[in-house]
């Protein structure tokens, strides 16, 4: 991705006339996030609809009301050809979203829709995945929602794509990259930290899980053939998710760098050297940022902790101290 490129600042100062748009992809933890987002705005600043079934619903609002909304959240799309809500607000809101690993998301959606009886009790997961009537919930949903409608005359595609895969993916990736924030359902807490950092909000003490499944599901219990079908139906989503993961790691790293620089260097003369280590602990699968090689990190670690102090404990102390500051700021 982008590792050695200069980075744009993460932080956004929300103005009084800004509109924040949270694109809610179903089963990505969106309702939990919405509860938090709503708490950041006054009631009359929040557009109450969560999806716009018809034009008529929006026309019930007066232009003055529509002008006053600063937070829009829901299953809305933002492509140039969507008959979009953006006509009533701004075409250039600050966009944010959450993505989720596509296999879990698909299964979660299936189970959810059975719970709310949108999908019949007798419908098996295989039926759900292959029946054309459910295709719009299944096939590359995250990519489709992120892009919106980019070509006229094409219905929401599930079988016949309006453009080559590479172009669709490219447009989806750009849309994500140009968003102010992209979170990962799997790393909800870290995502909340990045979100709060981005908009200068206070980190919530705990985030209630809303609308989540009563009992967790283990995808490895699926028959391989079913897993194959899901993979095939969410091929673009898998690629988009991988891109989003790297984007998230990069931005998270940038946040940690910012925080260490701003909050920590007065207390710890080695803070700058230690900064990459902090992040390595926060996100274990993240590669060390260039020019930090593992070798450099090892040598810094030896210098910082010659007595072999448990490094996990030290990192977690550093991290807690940083985020305590974030809380109280």
């Amino acid at each position: 991705l982008i590792s050695n490129r200069p980075r744009r600042p993460l932080r956004v100062t929300l103005n009084k006339d800004d509109v924040l748009f949270f694109q809610h992809i179903p089963k990505t933890g969106g309702l939990s996030l919405i509860a938090f987002l709503d708490s950041q705005f006054a009631q009359n600043e929040i557009f109450p609809l969560h999806s716009a079934g018809s034009e008529g619903e929006i026309s019930k609002f007066t232009p003055e009301q529509l002008q006053g909304y600063r937070l829009i959240r829901g299953h809305f799309r933002f492509g140039p050809y969507d008959n979009g809500i953006y006509r009533y607000f701004t075409q250039n809101p600050l966009r944010i979203t959450f993505l989720r690993e596509p296999i879990s998301r698909t299964i979660s959606a299936y189970r959810h829709q059975r719970r709310i009886q949108k999908v019949g009790e007798e419908t098996t997961l295989e039926d759900y995945l292959t029946d054309p009537q459910y295709a719009r919930f299944v096939v590359d949903l995250q990519t489709r929602l992120t892009i919106g409608k980019i070509k006229a005359g094409t219905a929401d595609w599930t079988d016949k794509k309006p453009l080559p895969d590479s172009v669709l993916l490219q447009v989806a990736k750009e849309n994500l990259e140009y968003m102010a924030f992209v979170g990962m359902t799997e790393q909800f807490k870290a995502s909340m930290q990045l979100l709060c950092h981005t908009f200068g909000w206070r980190m919530p003490q705990d985030i209630p899980q809303i609308n989540s499944s009563p009992e967790p599901f283990d995808p490895s219990t699926l028959p391989p053939s079913t897993l194959e079908i899901i993979k095939e139906k969410t091929r673009l989503d898998a690629e988009l998710y991988e891109f989003a993961t790297r984007l998230f790691q990069e931005r998270y790293q940038q946040m940690v760098d910012n925080l260490v620089e701003e909050n920590y260097d007065l207390r710890n003369p080695h803070a700058k050297e230690a900064a990459p280590l902090v992040a390595t602990v926060l996100l274990p699968d993240m590669p060390p940022p260039s020019p930090w090689s593992h070798k450099v990190i090892r040598s810094v670690r030896r210098r910082l902790f010659p007595d072999g102090t448990n490094r996990e404990a030290i990192y977690s102390r550093m991290r807690d101290s940083i985020f305590k500051r974030l809380h109280s700021s």
Binding site: P6, K16, T90, N92
Partner: protein, 265 residues
Amino acid sequence: MTQHSSIQPNIESTRPLRHRLRKGDQIFFLHIPKTAGTSLMGILENQVNPGEFFSFPDGLETVQPETITIAQKARIVRGHRMYDFQRYFTRRPYVITMLRNPYDRVISNFAHLQRNNPERLLKLARMTNPARGDEPITLEDFINTPSMQNRLIQFLTGFNGALKQPFTEHLALAKVHLEYLAFFGLKERFDDSIKLLAYTFGWSPIKLEERLNAAPADSKPDLTPELAALFEKTNGLDMEFYQYAVALFDHRFQKMERELKEQSR
């Protein structure tokens, strides 16, 4: 060619033409060389307070941290930068550009480099043929330089390793990006373009100033059949893209006129 590259633009776009600029909104003027962009620059500069317009020096050098700091602060940012330069803005900017008939643009670009930057011309020619001496570079040499081909599409897609040759996917992507632009104008219809620009952002009608950075009128060579064939071979995708853009511009311009008529009723 597939249905992906049909000439007809998507004309029933619901996207509104007008954008009310908010306090934090920024405009990125993606300036493709030799598209009357320098004239547009003067116009843009007049729309904002002093210090809110920033123009990058020419040349596509790598992005520096200072570059980003500037891009964050200015209200309008102009530069010979490609579509993906947007990633350096924390707030996604409104992107605007000017386009021009690719053949005329290439001729003009060549003449401009001959006059102002012959070293760059030589460098470009040596990229294709490292063994070449320093004999004068012809228009044909220039057209045959791959990095100078289909430049409209290049600027509108950015550097895109992900897409495969022979770049028909770049063409498709460039068309999609055109839809994302808040405004694009055509050099051939400069006055109309400026009207549409003012309408787009709700600026008061703009008085046209003199053309800047324009080539002397006599510098355009004849288009021989050989030259036309070479150009078609090397820049055919750009020609197709341009035709598409002209049709879309027509559509947007007519839509503006209809809206203005309705308002005056």
